[in-house]
Symmetry: C2
Subunit: 990 residues, 2 copies
């Protein structure tokens, strides 16, 4: 890439004066060094070529924390030490230039690299430059695909790949994506990988029925068209399903963690077994070749945390290659070689075949008839929410670091950084992190890292807001507002609230602060009074907060904040006094504002209907809370229990928690809410903000009782009269929406064996059901699992508490307890409902979900602000159009800023918004002077124009419809539906 960059640079220098430093550093490669595809071993055209891929799979946390894994600490839990793996592999690679190794997880590689001597670093660089050590995937971790949001995935990939790029240059750029372990595969991940420039993608886990059909049809290798909006082949990704998950073939595991017999080739010792080993290998190779298309097959020679003592593997692999290939002189037609996934991919590409085209995704994943990995869609809901919230905090931190300039990281509040949180977020994307499939102590570690990261970011935010506002008054962060805990608002008579909006559009946001007064005055940035109300705090909140706060009331008002900016509100106590009495225990027949009417069944206290008053839509809508009894595994069909991974209800009919709700109603000028209690451990607030088109359902579940020795998986179910015909829709990683159909898979004839679990899909940010007339969309505040088991019905799993381990390695039941919640975890969350016409529903749910993901950040200042304080600020010259999402704004280096703009509509979902839009990068920011721009691939590790990918031919011949839509100018960039464009800007504060 270095050479390519130079060419680009020269070109740009000729054309203009606005070039800037390259994102990659220069690397001196020796002339004879060859990396990437050039470094692959030769194969034999007339033979079956077996590509042996030595690899290790290093979970960035699972049974142990990421640092325990790195050091090899707590080997009593699991023997694994990544520092030793890298030591050993580098050592062994040097012994034989034919040997190859791939490394995947940059979170570990980075930890190791920084502890190495410069001699060792030089050695490793040479191995990389010669293609002997090759990075694949290369993100900070191997992200989960079901429960991650694309925004955080793009960030973690960018961070990992940037480290490789900076350290190794072009030879360090991974050519293939490698998701050998995640439990199901999201189409959006494939789309992102394509846009990041990967030539292909390999994974290990696929539904057993799917695999079986694909083996028969030789379709384990295929072309995945990963977007219905982005023009092919931009989101096309060659995808290979590996033959043995990611393990070696049976009998050929030579790691220290395995027991397979080594090759014993000393004829003087007992048990000489060379012939036996060679015969067994040839048989396996031949069987495998029958279910793949080309005369190349791949074998993954490694597994979890293997190669800690790489000598065992390599010594035996060297012998295997020698003895198997020696058979060629006796007529054998099998050729074995050290290889890498990219070398294998290159051979598949050279084969010039056509490949089955796939447009759906690989969810849900089942490895047997009663073993659906659909539980983790919902496992550890509090961690899932904290991860989502942390992403919002990180984006805010990134933005403010840019907007505040250098003072952000070193200012009046000390030294801060966004890196700590960025790393913590990157680690949290791992497929045993946000997925909820780690041990409890590891989940605690992820949360602690996020909290530490946010701590460092708070300094950045404080410094930046000080720079932007001109006030160095201390800022207080209230991280427990969701349970109405905030010492400053609880005790202060006068304070101000700064609302920072990370979106590129103005937002209006309901604020709810714990207070002890009964009357307050709230003024906006212009000093204008804002409508506010004080209501009594709910009993549920009081229970949940556990003496961590003492507010008796809540102060409610609505704030507005400008695009990429803040507005400041001042709050003054007018009247202290006793707690307010609740306003009524009856349930109203309905509550409404100018947009929505919500009706209730007065007998049960449950929701009964929802009307959109603007569009005159009306649906019957009953909602209640239920629990599935988790299988304990004692079952005639299967001994599979429900666990962190697996969802397996004992019965397809869930138990209702209560047929009726006890209720309490609060109606104010800014908000009306009906508080519903179903059990001491299940309650909800049905809330309608005065100025909102959205119905908010704030649920609180836990501690789930288990004194009856029954594991419980708690859902809420929305039953409507929408004629959904067994179809519902879920998003993929928060981006494109896919259609789901009950008891159906688009690419094979499903034999359904789990009527509930087998119909669950990940809901990352939203799900909806619709008919010709009505679409009910639910936007979630975290990843959850859900399904539509009956027509018109949509259920979402909120919380799970299980008594058995599901035998997938975690070896703990998912029974979240902690010091704070010794009796079990209480979780609170929000579902946001909107009722729209199907044709325009996206116009509501796209911005709604955007606001749910990137929510305003509130900071508080005690007392009066200095009169010179700037109370309102916007970083943009103007709001961006509704279709354009400001995905990334973060400091890249001293002189440049990384910007990602995204078209957030699919091509088919909105008449108004599914159109190309153009943004002018020079006119974007109010305080930044942009003096240069260069476009990058999505992961920012390659110039966009240098991104040349393999082209693959789909089996179904099709007309390529490449719209060649040129940007109007260098500064004006056009975004088409679902496109993300990544730019490096040379920018200075004006």
């Amino acid at each position: 890439m270095a050479a390519g960059c130079c060419r680009l640079l020269s070109l740009l220098l000729l054309l203009c004066e606005i070039c800037f430093s390259l994102p990659v550093e220069r690397h001196e490669n020796l002339r004879e060094d060859k990396c990437g595809y050039q470094s692959c071993h030769a194969t034999k055209a007339s033979m079956l070529n077996v590509h042996l891929v030595p690899h290790t799979h290093d979970d960035v946390g699972w049974l142990k924390t990421v640092d325990q894994y790195f050091y090899g600490d707590r080997n009593d839990i699991q023997h694994a030490g990544v520092q030793y793996i890298l030591d050993s592999v580098v050592e062994e690679l040097q012994k034989n230039p034919d040997r190859r190794f791939i490394y995947v997880e940059t979170a570990f590689f980075y930890r190791w690299w920084r502890r190495q001597s410069s001699d060792m670093q030089r050695t490793v660089k040479q191995l990389v430059n010669q293609g002997r050590l090759e990075f694949v995937n290369g993100g900070w971790c191997m992200s989960d695909e079901a429960t991650t949001h694309y925004s955080a995935v793009v960030d973690q990939m960018t961070m990992g790949l940037r480290f490789l790029n900076q350290t190794f240059g072009p030879c360090g750029r991974p050519r293939v994506a490698w998701h050998i372990d995640p439990f199901g595969h999201a189409r959006e991940h494939a789309s992102m990988f394509a846009q990041m420039g990967y030539d292909g993608f390999f994974f290990g886990r696929v539904d057993y029925q799917d695999r079986s059909r694909r083996m028969r049809a030789k379709e384990q290798e295929l072309l995945w068209r990963a977007s219905d909006s982005i023009s092919p082949p931009l989101a096309d990704l060659f995808t290979g399903i590996l033959p043995n998950g990611y393990n070696p073939p049976e009998g050929f595991c030579w790691d220290q963690s395995c027991d397979d017999p080594p090759i014993k080739d000393d004829p003087d010792l007992e048990d000489y077994n060379v012939n036996d080993v060679v015969e067994r290998f040839l048989n396996i190779a031949k069987s495998q070749s029958l279910v793949y298309k080309s005369n190349h097959i791949i074998m993954t020679m490694g597994s979890d945390f293997q190669y800690e003592n790489a000598n065992l593997w390599y010594k035996n692999l060297d012998k295997l290659i020698r003895y198997v290939n020696a058979r060629q002189s006796n007529g054998s037609r099998v050729n074995v070689l050290y290889s890498t996934p990219s070398c294998y991919l290159q051979e598949l590409h050279r084969a010039n075949l056509s490949w089955a085209l796939k447009t759906d995704d690989f969810f849900p994943y089942a490895d047997d008839a009663h073993d659906f990995w659909t539980g983790y869609f919902s496992s550890r809901p509090a961690l899932k929410r904290y991860e989502r919230l942390s992403n919002s905090n990180l984006q805010t931190c990134n933005q403010l670091e840019v907007l505040g300039g250098q003072a952000s990281t070193s200012g009046p509040f000390g030294q801060g950084d966004s890196l700590t949180l960025r790393r913590a977020m990157a680690v949290a994307q791992h497929h045993d992190a946000v997925s909820g499939t780690e041990k409890q102590h590891v989940a605690n570690d992820y949360a602690r890292r996020l909290a530490n990261g946010w701590q460092r970011c708070q300094v950045v935010v404080s410094n930046s807001l000080a720079a932007l506002s001109g006030s160095t008054a201390e800022r207080v962060y209230c991280n427990s507002l969701n349970i109405s805990v905030c010492p400053i608002t609880e005790s202060s008579k006068k304070f101000s609230v700064n609302v920072f909006n990370p979106l590129a559009r103005p937002v209006s946001w309901p604020v709810r602060l714990p207070v002890n007064g009964t009357t307050y005055v709230v003024a906006d940035a212009n000093g204008k009074a804002v409508d506010c109300e004080v209501i009594p705090i709910s009993g549920t909140t009081r229970d949940v907060r556990r003496n961590r706060g003492f507010a008796v009331n809540e102060l409610l008002f609505r704030v507005r904040a400008p695009p990429l900016g803040f507005s400041t509100y001042s709050v003054s106590l007018l009247q202290d006094g006793p707690p307010l009495a609740s306003t009524g225990y009856h349930v109203p027949k309905s509550i409404w504002n100018k947009y929505l009417r919500v009706t209730f069944d007065p007998t049960t206290g449950l929701l009964s209907g929802l009307d959109n008053l603007e569009t005159k839509q009306s649906i019957g809508l009953t909602q209640n809370f239920y629990w599935y009894n988790a299988s304990d595994g004692n079952n005639s069909n299967s001994n599979q229990p429900s666990g962190a991974y697996i969802f397996r209800p004992n019965s397809s009919t869930p138990f209702v928690i209560s047929k009726t709700a006890k209720t309490e109603t609060i109606q104010t000028s800014v908000m009306q809410e009906v508080r519903q209690w179903f059990a001491p451990w299940a309650s909800q607030v049905v809330r309608l903000h005065t100025d909102s088109r959205v119905l908010e359902l704030e649920w609180t579940v836990g501690p789930i009782p288990i004194d009856d020795d029954l594991g419980k998986e708690v859902i809420t179910r929305l039953d409507t009269d929408i004629k959904s015909s067994g179809i519902f829709f879920t998003d993929s990683n928060g981006r494109e929406v896919l259609q789901r159909k009950k008891d159906f898979r688009p690419t094979w004839n499903l034999k359904q064996s789990e009527p509930i679990a087998g119909n669950y899909y990940p809901i990352n940010s939203r799900a909806f059901i619709k008919d010709d007339k009505d679409q009910l969309t639910v936007v979630t505040d975290r990843s959850q699992g859900g399904g539509s088991i009956q027509n018109g019905s949509l259920e979402i799993m909120l919380h799970r508490r299980l008594l058995y381990d599901d035998v997938r390695g975690v070896a703990e039941p998912l029974n979240e307890t902690s010091d704070v919640f010794p009796e079990g975890l209480v979780v609170r969350g929000r579902l946001l409902l909107s009722l729209d016409h199907p044709a325009s529903a996206a116009d509501t749910h796209r911005p709604l979900a955007e606001e749910a993901v990137l929510q305003p950040l509130l900071t508080f200042t005690e007392g009066h602000l200095h009169p010179n304080t700037r109370l309102e600020f916007s970083g943009l010259q103007a709001a961006l159009p509704p279709a354009v999402h400001l995905l990334t704004l973060s400091q890249w280096d001293d002189k440049s800023v990384l910007l990602r703009l995204e078209h957030q509509f699919q091509s088919w979902e909105s008449k108004a918004n599914s159109q190309p839009v153009t943004a002018d990068l020079q006119k974007l920011f109010s305080t930044l002077e942009v003096t240069g721009v260069s476009e990058l691939n999505l992961s920012a590790n390659q110039w966009k124009e240098e991104m040349k990918r393999f082209d693959w031919r789909p089996q179904a011949v099709e007309k390529q419809m490449k719209k060649s839509l040129e940007d109007p100018s260098m500064w004006e960039v056009t975004l088409r539906p679902m496109e993300i464009r990544t730019f490096l800007l040379r920018a200075n504060l004006r």
Copy 2:
């Protein structure tokens, strides 16, 4: 040594013309290389110096066979692969010149070495030459000390040390003996190690009460005076008891097999623990220094099969040393260094202290009050016998290889070698081999190796006998004569029997051949008829042989063979016929010959008395068979069951198998025997050969019944009226005899907690009880355990069958079954009893035991021998005096022969024989011309005159009485009591 050898050579060349090639090869050491004591790291005189000794303990077979351990096969049983250990250690030693490693077991090192490239061999030589890789102990294996015979131990040490000498020269010569794992320590081993030139000896296992006292008295390091006959300091050995067995201190095990936390020294990661680790280490070092004498302490950093991935250990040890020593700048007085046992020993020597003197041994070993490791003295009695027999076969093979000249290894019967059996015997000396503490499949492997070795030796024997006799007629070997199976004698009408005698004295030996005729004529080498008899085979033998033979009778006659030579007997069938009838079922009151009378109790059929008719001694002697009920571990005192290692009877009173014996008597001119049956699984033949001073008790035990779910440990007990006062005597490894006293240990105040097991000692070749008047000596045919629990009583454990594992790792109950004996093992053996005056008993038992250890070898030839066949041969010019044992005669290389002569009497045990004797090496052999001689140390890896050992000062001041007894001439060598002298002879066949 190379330089020294040159000097010796020059000297000899000046003096005479009889010098010959050196036993060690020349080795080029670089000038700057320093090995041995010169290569030790500097220590700090004013500090506590902690010697860290990285090491691995590699069992030469235990849970896996030696080859499985080498390759890392069957890791499902135990994770261990020695090939990888050596790969890894050599790799890691190269990374830091400060690092040290010791290697112990040459059986493994040899396997590894021969597979290495010459580059790698060069690298390893350099490491050895620089003292970075140091060999300690260096025998083929780390021998067991309780159940091995000194003859085989000397051989296996010689073989291992010779390999090191040939490969590495002087830098490869171990300076210390290292027996970290054997379960108790024999004085004879210490004596041998002293005579092999070791400067010191370290071990790990010592009785818990003994250790406790020694810790208080700082006597864990001591001077062991290992012979009561050899003049000090020739058999003095400095002995150190290691602080943690052979493991690292708690919390400091950094092997892949351990779970201790690594040193986490990256302050940016979680759980930085450097301070914690350093503090813990300093505390341990200080505690340890309190129970040792000097300002040096040793820590064994390793354990079973550790260092397979040496990086884990060294990486953390490097850090430990760095961080602990860094404290010195803050006043710490602890200095840690990489070291070896010899470097540690050198510092102890430099300390110039005086050390407690010990003259007894370290048996029995208990690691807790009810955990006496006295079961293995008797475990696997069949393997123990086969090992002993194989030693006899090997010595015969060695001798005949020399006597037969080059034709022995390549002659009319093809290519043969003694090496295979020598290696198999060496492997069998391992402390989980002949000890009987290995898994069943491993025991089978040891036996298979011995059988294979014997197969190769048979070719040598046949070739050599052909050369010596002039007959190339095929020789048949009957390996199952102990169960009366021998196809040739069973079916042939005319055959000859060659009797080879490996002793340096003529022997007379009873022969017993399975036949089907009723009358035979036997003639000796001179054609003279020999008295013979045919008797019916016993029912017990018929049961035991299981259809492997069909003889109905046995032909008995006595043969004689000259010293180190053979005699040939011809046998001709005179009369075929039906089986002979038994001669009578009554028990006679007594049987007698001219030397002994044996009386029986006619009511019980048991022995009742023994008289020596020559000396007119007479004792009451009752003998019977009993079993202890093995503890199953369900016991209030302890949950320790009896197992392969541990002997723990449920009760101190054994159960009698039967109070009476069914009997059958056979009285012939050559032999009289009373056959006794106690149970279907327990019988005995009381046998008196006509020409013998010994009473033979041939016992047959098994299959031990376990259908009552009781484990059984079968003993025979001799109850006499000898007034033994709680004292009895046992030999140490077949050499010197030690006194044992009931419930007593010479060096500490014993709290006896196991009245039977705690009074058991290893009986390697003999045991006796005595009073002023009478000594009853029992010579055994294998190692067994035994004790004297009552005055006048001596019990010997014959066979054990157990239902529980004893939790010392072997993880199998000692329940020997096989395809041949699916219902359990049957074992047959002999006890040889003699009754003498105590002052002259050794004159009987020394030669008797010698004959039991090195028994004549019978080979058979079908039909008539060619008339030119030489029927009698002796390799000696004359028989050696009774005190001199020909311990070793084996081919060293083309031109030289290794000879060991031994004085086989202790200084106090015989008026007649405990005197110095002289042998003339030039006049020794009848067919060998000896042209040169040089004396070596006992293990033949150093010239005797170059053997300079550290001198150590005992605490008790004593007068050194070095008798400086000069050899009369270069050829005439004098042997003092218990001395073994080792010579390399240049010798040619005359």
